[in-house]
């Protein structure tokens, strides 16, 4: 596919970014995405720093929550908004802290247009094994094993923020968990609605900033909370 044609097709793909207090990296992350994607929807989840002002200057669609609700609620808002856009074909979720690669998002976007699957999950462990810290890798593997056991899915990475979904699939999902546990609920819903899915390898950059923001080992405990939620949702 030539570059021009690809860019034209990607016009129907929307990038959904939940964001909370990311003034340090937001300009860099959005600018990099704007080189490839023309439709970027950022949900500012009640930021108290300059993120909102910076976003308004960047020329992307900004949806502002008056108060901080959580990553799940922000994603759901983005999904609801994109679902109302007539020519929207797919959504790619992307973290605002700069840990994802734009190239990976582009690959996922191109693939979701062509493939028959409804959802593509990004995976750090599919293909070449990523440079994930040892303890985090163990926790992620454990979480993945349990999640697969409960949902009957076959995923290698259940907690990756980079994923692509067709809008037709998004309309079927009913996410009502506001916090991080929405990831588990999303997987549960994909399983429940028998949506077709596959995985694609993605890279995660563990920068000093992203580790400080939310990739610390302590935050991995949230994943354990996710598993408890999965049992509850069954």
């Amino acid at each position: 596919m030539d570059k021009g044609n690809e860019a034209c097709i990607l016009d129907n793909v929307f990038i959904a970014i939940p964001l909370f207090n990311e003034e340090q990296v937001v300009t860099e992350v959005i600018s990099a995405l704007q080189k490839v994607f023309s439709n970027i929807v950022v949900v500012d989840d009640g930021s108290t720093d300059r993120s909102n002002k910076l976003l308004c200057d960047l020329g992307v669609t900004v949806i502002s929550h008056a108060v901080n609700l959580g990553q799940g609620a922000a994603i759901k808002t983005a999904f609801e908004y994109i679902s109302t856009i007539e020519d929207a074909f797919a959504v790619v979720t992307f973290d605002a802290d700069g840990q994802h690669s734009v190239r990976d998002a582009e690959k996922l976007a191109s693939e979701i247009i062509c493939c028959k699957e409804d959802v593509i999950f990004g995976s750090r462990f599919s293909g070449k094994v990523a440079d994930v810290p040892m303890v985090k890798r163990l926790i992620l593997k454990f979480a993945t094993y349990i999640t697969n056991f409960i949902t009957g899915m076959h995923l290698t990475d259940t907690h990756n923020g980079l994923k692509a979904l067709k809008v037709s699939a998004v309309r079927k999902l009913n996410i009502d968990i506001s916090g991080y546990a929405f990831e588990s609920q999303l997987i549960m819903q994909v399983s429940k609605h028998k949506l077709h899915y596959k995985e694609m390898p993605t890279h995660v950059y563990y920068t000093e900033y992203s580790i400080k923001k939310g990739q610390s080992i302590r935050n991995s405990l949230i994943i354990v909370e996710d598993i408890i939620n999965l049992w509850r949702m069954r």
């Binding site: 949806i63 929550h65 009502d176 506001s178």
Partner: protein
């Protein structure tokens, strides 16, 4: 004796209050009514409470009240958590609809 009288008046007032005041749910009414009766009994008829407790196989009235308190606290926490969750959902829905309304308005303004 004065303290005992104060407690008797307090529980009688609560009992009367629970009978007169209109409550949104019967559970709240019963909660205050039973609570005030139990309080009144604990001050005036503790021997009978002791007797009743021993009939139930509990060591004494104090233990019975302790168990009732524990159950009440747990029920209250459960009820409060449930209410909190419902409230959180309402706030989320409201915040989201306001945010979406605002962005749609901006989009319409830009289009026109």
């Amino acid at each position: 004796m004065t303290l005992k009288l104060i407690f008797i008046f307090l529980f009688l007032f609560l009992l009367l209050y629970s009978l007169i005041r209109p409550f949104p749910s019967i559970v709240s009414k019963l909660f205050l009514m039973i609570g005030s009766i139990l309080g009144l009994l604990s001050v005036t008829e503790f021997r009978r409470v002791d007797y009743f407790a021993s009939m139930l196989g509990i060591n004494g009235g104090k233990d019975l009240y302790l168990y009732i308190s524990f159950v009440t606290i747990f029920l209250f926490i459960f009820y409060a958590a449930d209410r909190f969750k419902a409230l959180e959902k309402k706030i989320t829905k409201l915040t989201r609809s306001l945010a979406l309304e605002s962005v749609k308005k901006t989009r319409t303004d830009e289009d026109s």
